[in-house]
C-alpha cells in the first residue's frame, strides 16, 4: 500500500531527494506500523521527536492504512 511521509524542519534532511516540500509517497507492506514507517529514514529519534498519524496523536504501534500521512518533527517549545 502507498502512504505519505512528511518531515518538518530539520528532519527534512533525512528524506530522499525525490521528496517535495518535505513530503514523499512510499510503498509499505500491509501491517506496517507508524514506528516501522518512520524508522526507515534514519532519523535520530529522541525525547524531542513527535510523530503524528494524519495529524492525530496515536500509539507508535498503530498499523497504517492506504493513504495515511505520517508526520515527524523535532519539537521545540516555541511559537
Amino acid at each position: 500500500m502507498m502512504i505519505h511521509i512528511k518531515m518538518i524542519g530539520n528532519y527534512r534532511d533525512h528524506l530522499p531527494p525525490a521528496s517535495k516540500n518535505g513530503m514523499i509517497e512510499i510503498e509499505v507492506p500491509d501491517g506496517t506500523t507508524v514506528h516501522d514507517a518512520i524508522s526507515r529514514f534514519g532519523i535520530p529519534l529522541d525525547d524531542s521527536s513527535v510523530i503524528v498519524l494524519n495529524g492525530l496523536t496515536v500509539d507508535m504501534n498503530t498499523p497504517l492504512q492506504e493513504g495515511d500521512v505520517v508526520t515527524a518533527f523535532s519539537a521545540i517549545a516555541g511559537g
Binding site: 513527535v50 495529524g55 496523536t57 518533527f73 521545540i76 516555541g78 511559537g79
Partner: protein, 502 residues
C-alpha cells in the same frame, strides 16, 4: 522598577544613566517611527544605551500598540504601547554597567554551563529553533489542523509551505539574532532585497505568520515580511494587527462592511490591502480609526460581534483551540485575555514539551493549564525566556518542580528559596492578577470564548467537527485553583497565599 503615574503635559522620555534619572523632552521624536526614534535617542544619550519606545501607533492610542525594544523586539500584547502614549511617554532609555554582584558567581557559572550542556534540544546546533526560528511552526500547526486560517474559518492553510521557516530561510534570511547572550538565537534578521516589499528588519516569527499571513489568507511571503517590518516601525502587535484585519476581511466578504466604508476591497488573501490597512490603523486614518480599536470593538460597531475571535477582547494567537482544547481553557482564563504567553499548554498538546498530550481531549487539561500558568508566572518573574526555561521548570513526570530555577535564583540573590516557596510565589502572582482583574471589572463572567470556538465546529483537518468543550474544563479548573464555583478566589486561598482578602 519604575512606575509611571499620571500624564506628562508634553511628550517626554526617561533617561536612566546608571543611578541618574532624568525626564527629557521628546518633542523632537514625537511622530517618528521606532527605528528613527531609537537612533536619535541613542545619539543624544549613549551609543550603548538600550531604548524601549513607542511608535506612531502608541502615540495615536491604537489599542494594538506595542512597546518596542532594541527596534525589533516587542512587548506586544494588550496595548501597552497605547498606555505609554496616553502618558505622553515616548521612550525609556537605559544605560548601566554596574551589575549587582552575584551571591555565588562560581556556582552560578557551573549551573549555567550544566544547563547549556544538559537541558533541552532547543539549544543544540541542529535544532529547529536555531535553524528556522519559530517560523518552523506553521507546518506543525497545519499538520494538526490548528493553524489559524482566514480568521479561524479554517484550521489548515493550503499554502503553508509558502510562508514557513524553510521558505523564509531560503529567500530572505540574513542571519539569526539572539536576545542578550542567548545561545539559541531564534530571532531572524531578514531582508526583502527588491520589489514593492523591499525592506530589512526582523521577522516574521510564527505568531506573525499565523496572523498577518494565514490569518488573513495571505501567502505572499515578501508582503508578509514587509507587513512585519511595518508593524515594528509603527510599534504594533502583529497578532492583534493581523487578526483585526482578518476580522475586517471576513466582515467585508460577508457584506457587513462595504467597500465605500473601507476605501477599497478587502478580501482574504489580498496582501496589498492588508498592508494598506496597517498604515491606516497606525495612523487612525479613515477606516483605520475603527481598525485601531481591535476586532472586538470593530465587529460590534458593525453589528457582528460573533466574528471577533477574542477573549477578554484580545485577539487569539496562533493555535486554534478547537484542535487544542487546553489552549481553549487557557485563552478563557488567561489574566491577559487570549494569550499563549500566559501558560502555553500547546507546548505539550502540540510540541510534546516536555511530554506529548492529546490535543483533542479535555481530560487532565485543567490541571495542565494551572501548571503552565503558574510556571509561566514563575519564569516571567525570574526574567528568563520560556523557550528554554520551560524545560527546567518541569520534571519528567510533568509536575511543576522548579529545582533548577530555585537554585539559580538562590545563587544570584542568596535568598535561599525552596522550590515550594517559589511555586507558592507563582500561584500568588496568578491570584493577585486575578484579584486585580476582578476589581477592574474583568471578573469570572469573562472566562469564556467567542461564538466561533464554542458553536462553530472546525470544518477541516484532523480536528474537524470539534468545538472547545469549555464547560467540561472550567469547573474543575476553578476547583484546582481553590476558587469558588463562580470563579472567585476563596478567602482561604487568599489567606494561604498571603494576599489581602477584601
Amino acid at each position: 522598577m519604575y512606575i509611571f503615574e499620571g500624564k506628562a503635559s508634553e511628550p517626554v522620555y526617561l533617561w536612566v544613566n546608571e543611578d541618574q534619572v532624568e525626564v527629557r523632552s521628546a518633542a523632537h521624536v514625537w511622530g517618528k517611527e521606532v527605528p528613527e526614534t531609537t537612533d536619535i535617542l541613542k545619539v543624544e544619550t549613549h551609543p550603548e544605551a538600550r531604548v524601549a519606545c513607542i511608535g506612531p501607533a502608541g502615540e495615536n492610542l491604537a489599542l494594538m500598540a506595542a512597546i518596542m525594544n532594541d527596534k525589533n523586539r516587542a512587548a506586544a500584547r494588550s496595548g501597552v504601547g497605547a498606555v505609554m502614549g496616553s502618558k505622553n511617554l515616548k521612550a525609556v532609555v537605559a544605560m548601566g554597567n554596574k551589575n549587582p554582584p552575584l551571591f555565588n558567581p562560581d556556582a552560578m557559572r557551573d549551573i549555567s554551563v550544566d544547563t547549556s550542556k544538559n537541558v533541552g534540544v532547543d539549544i543544540k546546533k541542529g535544532s529547529n529553533l536555531r535553524i528556522y526560528g519559530t517560523a518552523y511552526v506553521p507546518q506543525v500547526t497545519n499538520t494538526l489542523g490548528i493553524l489559524p486560517t482566514r480568521n479561524f474559518l479554517q484550521g489548515t492553510f493550503e499554502h503553508a509551505d509558502k510562508v514557513d521557516g524553510v521558505a523564509l530561510k531560503e529567500q530572505y534570511l540574513i542571519k539569526n539574532v539572539p536576545c542578550y547572550r542567548c545561545p539559541i538565537s531564534c530571532g531572524r534578521l531578514t531582508e526583502v532585497p527588491d520589489g514593492p516589499y523591499k525592506g530589512k528588519g526582523e521577522g516574521p516569527e510564527y505568531e506573525t505568520i499565523s496572523s498577518l499571513g494565514t490569518g488573513c489568507g495571505v501567502s505572499n511571503l515578501a508582503a508578509l515580511t514587509k507587513a512585519n517590518y511595518l508593524c515594528n516601525e509603527y510599534g504594533m502587535d502583529t497578532i492583534t494587527t493581523g487578526m483585526t484585519i482578518a476580522a475586517a476581511m471576513e466582515m467585508y466578504e460577508k457584506g457587513y462592511i462595504s467597500e465605500d466604508v473601507i476605501g477599497m476591497p478587502l478580501r482574504f488573501g489580498d496582501h496589498d490591502a492588508m498592508i494598506a490597512m496597517i498604515h491606516k490603523m497606525a495612523r487612525r486614518e479613515g477606516f483605520g480609526n475603527d481598525l485601531a480599536e481591535g476586532s472586538y470593538r470593530l465587529c460590534e460597531k458593525y453589528g457582528h460581534p460573533e466574528i471577533a475571535v477574542t477573549a477578554r477582547k484580545q485577539e487569539f494567537p496562533g493555535y486554534d483551540p478547537r484542535g487544542s482544547q487546553g489552549m481553549g481553557l487557557l485563552y478563557a482564563t488567561s489574566n491577559k485575555g487570549a494569550s499563549h504567553m500566559e501558560g502555553d499548554v500547546a507546548y505539550e498538546e502540540v510540541f510534546g514539551v516536555p511530554v506529548k498530550e492529546n490535543p483533542l481531549t479535555t481530560e487532565g487539561k485543567p490541571e495542565l493549564v494551572k501548571h503552565f500558568e503558574d510556571s509561566f508566572a514563575l519564569i516571567d518573574s525570574s526574567g528568563l525566556c520560556v523557550f528554554l526555561a520551560i524545560r527546567y521548570v518541569f520534571s519528567k513526570e510533568r509536575m511543576v518542580w522548579p529545582v533548577r530555577l530555585a537554585d539559580m535564583m538562590n545563587l544570584t540573590t542568596g535568598a535561599g528559596y525552596t522550590p515550594e516557596e517559589v511555586l507558592k510565589a507563582a500561584e500568588r502572582v496568578y491570584n493577585l492578577e486575578r484579584m486585580f482583574l476582578i476589581k477592574a471589572g474583568s471578573g469570572p463572567e469573562h472566562d469564556t470564548l467567542p461564538h466561533r470556538m464554542l458553536h462553530e465546529p472546525l470544518p477541516d483537518g484532523p480536528a474537524k467537527g470539534k468545538v472547545v468543550e469549555l464547560d467540561k474544563m472550567l469547573p474543575e479548573f476553578y476547583k484546582l485553583r481553590g476558587w469558588d464555583e463562580k470563579g472567585y478566589p476563596t478567602k482561604e486561598k487568599l489567606e494561604e497565599l498571603g494576599l489581602p482578602v477584601s
